[in-house]
Symmetry: C2
Subunit: 310 residues, 2 copies
């Protein structure tokens, strides 16, 4: 059976796995991401670690179908990376560089959220669905769009940059991107906390979170427990996400939506809320796209990276 | 050189052309669309007309690369049509039926707006761009999304149903689809006229359109001539279109947008307005996708239909 290497390159650690074409992981491990000096050591570290683990497993580099990597920034479909703030990279073609460090083996590179989408589509909650939209709700909001089983990278590497869809043109606060009213301002963990603070400032009602230093999980737990102000906040945030999902529905019409990232741990409580509002916003479509929570957790990127070369 | 037949099947007429693989049209003609009895004569009429014209031109059906058709309703990627209100069709696979009427020749079917997008991408304003989003602003608003030179039909044939993107969740009037605040309510010819009436009802200022029975062209002409109320209306409508374009930008990241349909005759006046607002809404992307007016006019569908089989 064909084997390959999947690499999920994050800002802190690099997760690396040896995977078979049937999706089984024969080995996985992590190394730290050395970001110093413009991230110049990162690809060398990855190459050395792959060589070492393949040798220990009695595997030959040339027998591999290739090495796939997900990187935390925009990647053009050619594999070119103009800038990757999270790694310190500028003007680099990581696929070419890693390939030359690994005796010319086939290397493919894509954006980390896009790769996680591909992982969920291949072996996760989206298994069996060739048309899929993935949202990851963490510190920020990212995503990946899969059409006919392939990543939509976009003409400038901006495919599925769904965190920066304008969902509230009336917003007065700015997003990190410079726009106002981006999805990320409401549906990320940071956004949910900020919106909860707004609710508490605007309304007088009692709330267990008032006067506390709270996390996104605290807001979600309070909402689930029925606290009216937390519920109202979470509904407002998820209404914005459902709105963005309806845009995706009317543009790309995926079979399924998959929601991952820390916020998605609130599970079916969020799914039910999202599905209800999504259905209201898409009366045109008689069969609704289903919404599911991602199930590969932190391995989604590794699976998807492997899938790039299988 | 390979030749094929492109068919743009509309609710009133069927436009048919014999095209070469280099995009030249060797012949084009029209026949009426007979919608009676659930549209049961339509495919037979098309088949007979194609046979007749090929024979007159000394061409053999079996030498054709195939027949492509654009139909005015949702088409699943398998070619299946659940319902096509504009033709009276229900539960039909037009590709299979037409193929059996034409001695088994290769037939491909897609949605008309999607096919027009493909036409503009192949031989029109989008030539040379593999990633393209097409909006057609007519009585309604339709569209087509092209990724890697191929139509995104969507899992339920709802790909690029951009007329029904919610651009104004605060709208109180309903769209034909049952939703409120769809793009079609503002950026179609009908929508622009309706919004102009709203402006006139809400504001007192003088306006040459006040008290008149006016068309969308009248509104656009008044706006171009500097009438403040018409200008305000057109800006509001185009802001909604730019908002929808920014959604497409952040989801599919096309290289170019192409705007067709009757409203697009206002030309660069609209393009400049759209580009300015689109750029404001997409600060994340340093290189902006360009916006162009479609240039194949009523032939876009025929070109795109031909392209389906070339």
């Amino acid at each position: 059976m064909k084997k390959c290497v999947g690499v999920d390159l994050g800002g802190t650690t690099v997760k690396i796995g040896i995977l078979c074409e049937d999706g089984t992981i024969s080995e996985k491990w992590e190394i730290p991401t050395r970001k110093e000096e413009g991230g110049k050591y990162i690809l060398g570290d990855i190459a050395a670690s792959i060589r070492e683990h393949l040798a220990a497993a009695g595997l030959n580099l040339q027998e591999m179908a290739g090495v796939g990597i997900g990187v935390p920034g925009p990647v053009q479909s050619s594999g070119y990376v103009e800038v990757c703030v999270n790694l310190g990279w500028k003007d680099i073609n990581p696929a070419e560089e890693l390939s030359s460090l690994l005796d010319g083996v086939n290397v493919k590179v894509a954006n980390d959220a896009n790769v996680a989408a591909l992982g969920e589509q291949w072996m996760g909650s989206g298994k069996g669905h060739d048309q899929l939209m993935f949202f990851t709700l963490g510190t920020g909001v990212g995503g990946g769009l899969i059409i006919d089983g392939k990543i939509v990278a976009g003409s400038k590497g901006m495919g599925a940059e769904v965190g920066h869809i304008t969902v509230n043109p009336k917003e007065t606060d700015s997003c990190n991107c410079g726009n106002k009213g981006c999805l990320e301002q409401y549906a990320s963990a940071t956004g949910i906390v900020k919106e909860m603070k707004r609710t508490l400032d605007a309304e007088d009602g009692a709330c267990p979170l008032r006067g506390q230093d709270f996390s996104c999980k605290d807001v979600l737990d309070a909402a689930k427990a029925g606290d009216p102000l937390a519920e109202k906040t979470v509904h407002r945030c998820m209404d914005y996400l459902a709105l963005a999902m309806s845009y995706v529905g009317m543009i790309a019409d995926p079979e399924v939506f998959v929601i991952g990232g820390g916020v998605s741990k609130a599970g079916n409580y969020l799914v039910d809320m999202l599905q209800k509002r999504y259905n209201e916003l898409t009366p045109l479509s008689s069969k609704k796209s289903g919404i599911f929570i991602a199930n590969l957790s932190n391995d989604a990127g590794m699976y998807g990276a492997a899938r790039l070369v299988l």
